[in-house]
């Protein structure tokens, strides 16, 4: 006999509609103990998804460079080694997004996942923009960065897709390297499904540069992941959307619209207090860094930095490796920060880091109509500082281009010169292959 419906302010909830104990029992582990494997970024993201017992529903549509995620999930599920999970190949990305919405709405306690890229993400837009505010935090959309359809197409890693979707209302986290991709995907549902957040998560990583680069990966045992998740993910107290009085595509008057947006914003703000707690628990459990707002890749403990570089993804690692040498050559002490939480943007954390630097070189790898997505955020972070640094904006690595050692040197030289001129927010430049190529 089924249990009676529980009335909530969001509508009736049917607690036994899906027998979660059965779902948990049906899960078969990918790893029973910690092991080291060789994997590329897509495989690492797929493994993380497959290891979560709550993730039973996957859907996808192939697009380079995220296709391998779908292939790994499909092959593993087909082998039957991870229990009874389901993968659907849909006819297009918008159908993927809607399929996930349906599955996620049906049971808020289960995680539904996909991976896509570039025009694939663009193709989902109508749904992602609704889902961002929907309260369906159990949707995981892995975004493998590739230049978006901003003409021309380019299949290499450029975060213009993710950055063009910053207002969709999702939590966006940028990962760097295979291990971090795996770790972030594992932590993502803890934050998205938290009852005070209930916001879907879009972890992302650079196409080709990280999606296709093989590296050593530590796989955690499924039971440890289960225990970690159980500390953060509790049975939902909310009905699925289909039972509630909100729905995708519902229409309200402008009077009610404000309330939805305030609620959405408050939930996003909650991310800023929760994320470090989840990250700290992850670190304590698995002895690797957990979620952070920003990664200080090369940053002295005493904060004595003249020029801070703020960048994203694997190229930030190159900058960190080059920092001492380039710093010597340019006569300044360089610190490097890799952006991790993109949305909501942790302005206060950047302000604290950048309070005493003379200049910030912000490296944007995606086309932007103004000074750059990252630059805008960093400028906002620095604005309230008593002595704000110059914020020097460079575009480099667009279309997934390599940011070579010589390009880093050219950008640092440019930043030093521009800041010495006393400009607070100089006109942005484009750097490529060791030169400032625009304006010329």
């Amino acid at each position: 006999m089924s249990m009676p419906a529980i009335e909530t302010i969001g509508g009736a909830r049917y607690p036994d509609a899906i027998d979660l104990a059965k779902v948990r029992d049906a899960h078969r582990p990918l790893a029973t103990e910690r092991k080291v494997v060789e994997a590329d970024g897509n495989t690492a993201a797929a493994y993380a998804c497959l290891q979560m017992w709550r993730a039973v529903c996957f859907a996808g549509f192939p697009i380079t460079p995220s296709t391998k995620w779908l292939e790994v999930v499909t092959d593993t599920v087909a082998r039957g080694t991870v229990g009874c999970k389901r993968v659907k190949l849909m006819e297009a990305e918008h159908a993927v997004a809607d399929y996930l919405a349906g599955a996620a709405a049906a049971c808020r306690d289960l995680i539904v996942a996909t991976a896509t890229s570039s025009v694939g993400l663009d193709h989902m837009t109508e749904s992602t923009r609704s889902l961002g505010a929907s309260g369906l935090g159990n949707i995981l959309l892995i975004n493998v960065y590739r230049a978006a359809a901003n003409y021309p197409l380019c299949i290499e890693g450029d975060p213009s897709d993710a950055l063009a979707h910053r207002d969709d209302g999702w939590i966006q986290i940028c990962c760097r390297g295979v291990q971090q991709i795996y770790d972030v995907v594992l932590q993502a549902p803890c934050i998205g499904m938290h009852p005070e957040v209930l916001t879907p998560v879009m972890p992302g990583y650079y196409g080709i540069k990280d999606s296709h680069r093989g590296s050593r990966l530590i796989l955690e045992p499924d039971h440890a992941i289960e225990a970690f998740h159980d500390r953060w993910i509790r049975p939902s107290q909310w009905p699925g959307l289909i039972n509630g009085d909100t729905a995708l595509g519902n229409c309200v008057t402008s009077q009610f619209f404000q309330g939805f947006k305030i609620d959405q914003r408050s939930r996003m703000e909650r991310v800023l207090t929760l994320l470090p707690r989840i990250g700290a628990d992850f670190e304590e459990t698995f002895s690797r860094p957990g979620l952070e707002f920003v990664e200080p890749l090369s940053w002295p403990v005493d904060n004595t930095v003249d020029l801070a570089i703020v960048a994203m993804g694997p190229d930030a690692g190159t900058a960190a490796a080059l920092a001492p040498e380039i710093g010597k050559e340019c006569g300044c002490k360089i610190g490097v920060l890799a952006a991790q939480l993109l949305t909501p943007f942790p302005h206060a954390q950047y302000a604290a880091r950048l309070a005493h630097v003379k200049a910030v070189l912000v490296v944007n790898q995606a086309h932007h109509a103004g000074h750059g997505h990252l630059t805008h955020e960093i400028a906002q972070a620095c604005y309230p500082l008593p002595k704000p640094p110059a914020v020097v904006s460079c575009f480099a690595g667009m279309g997934g281009a390599t940011v070579s050692d010589a390009t880093w040197l050219a950008m640092v030289r440019h930043a030093v010169t521009a800041s010495r001129r006393g400009e607070r927010l100089p006109r942005p430049v484009i750097a490529h292959e060791g030169r400032i190529i625009w304006p010329n």
Binding site: F61, P62, I63, T64, T67, L70, T74, D75, A78, V87, K88, L89, E91, A92, V119, H123, A149
Partner: protein, 254 residues
């Protein structure tokens, strides 16, 4: 009519196609240029609009106007083009994925509007460009044998689909027979309305080299007594024989 003095090579540009050796798209490209030559079309009076996929690279190799456009969208683009420049010979071309997965929604509406253009679909029953996933036209047996996703989903019948939506000209051909492809293309271009050509094609990389041979063994000309003006007969043929080559339907009032 005077035989055309044009040669197929005059419709090719200098670019070397990046298709795999043995890909069915080479033969399609050749038959496009042969059909243009046969019709004596002026290069600047031809526009080929494709979507995205290996097959959709085709316009890039033609010395005509062309657009390698957005995945699934050649039909609305071609329709817009034809309305703006009715004097052009407009061909929309695409793969089975482009046409019958992401682009399916546009087909009924293009047919309803009935622009005078040809829609040529290269159906290799696979997503070639994204490395061999099953497409909506992949047979269940193929998906089972190759462990492709979507084994439980039955395939779409492209010819039945366009017929049911009211297309006035429907033909089937195959990439292993250039003469037949050229003939079908010429007839489709000459048809004054929306003309659909379903081209059974081969992806050597993800279907294997024996696929063409297997296809050759299955295809056959439509039986002589079939009357392409008989709509019921066209439906019967579309339902029962996925390998019959030729003009399946041509509306009598055209």
């Amino acid at each position: 009519m005077e035989p055309s003095q044009r040669r197929p090579i005059e419709y090719r540009n200098d670019l070397h196609p990046v298709w795999c050796t043995g890909c069915g798209d080479f033969a399609v490209l050749k038959s496009f240029t042969r059909a243009f030559a046969q019709l004596g079309l002026q290069n600047e009076r031809i526009a080929i609009i494709s979507g995205i996929g290996c097959s959709s690279r085709l316009p890039g190799y033609c010395a005509t106007y062309g657009l390698n456009s957005v995945h699934g969208r050649p039909l609305p683009i071609a329709t817009g083009l034809k309305i703006a420049r009715p004097e052009l010979t407009v061909i929309a071309c695409a793969g089975d994925g482009d046409a019958f997965a992401i682009g399916t929604g546009h087909i009924p509406h293009a047919i309803r509007r009935n622009p005078d253009l040809t829609y040529f679909v290269m159906d290799n029953a696979v997503y070639g460009l994204t490395k061999g996933q099953a497409s909506p036209t992949s047979a269940r047996e193929q998906k089972a044998a190759r462990h492709q996703l979507g084994e439980m989903d039955p395939p779409i019948n492209p010819v039945l689909f366009v017929l049911a939506n009211g297309a006035g000209f429907v033909a089937r051909t195959q990439a292993g027979d250039m003469k037949h492809m050229t003939d079908m293309l010429v007839r489709a271009i000459n048809y004054p309305g929306f003309a659909f050509v379903h081209c059974l094609s081969v992806c050597v990389t993800y279907q294997g080299r024996s696929y063409q041979e297997a296809l050759d063994g299955r295809v056959h000309p439509i039986m002589a007594e079939h009357d392409p003006r008989d709509e019921d007969a066209a439906y019967r043929l579309a339902r029962t024989d996925p390998y019959a080559l030729g003009v399946i339907y041509e509306r009598a009032d055209s």
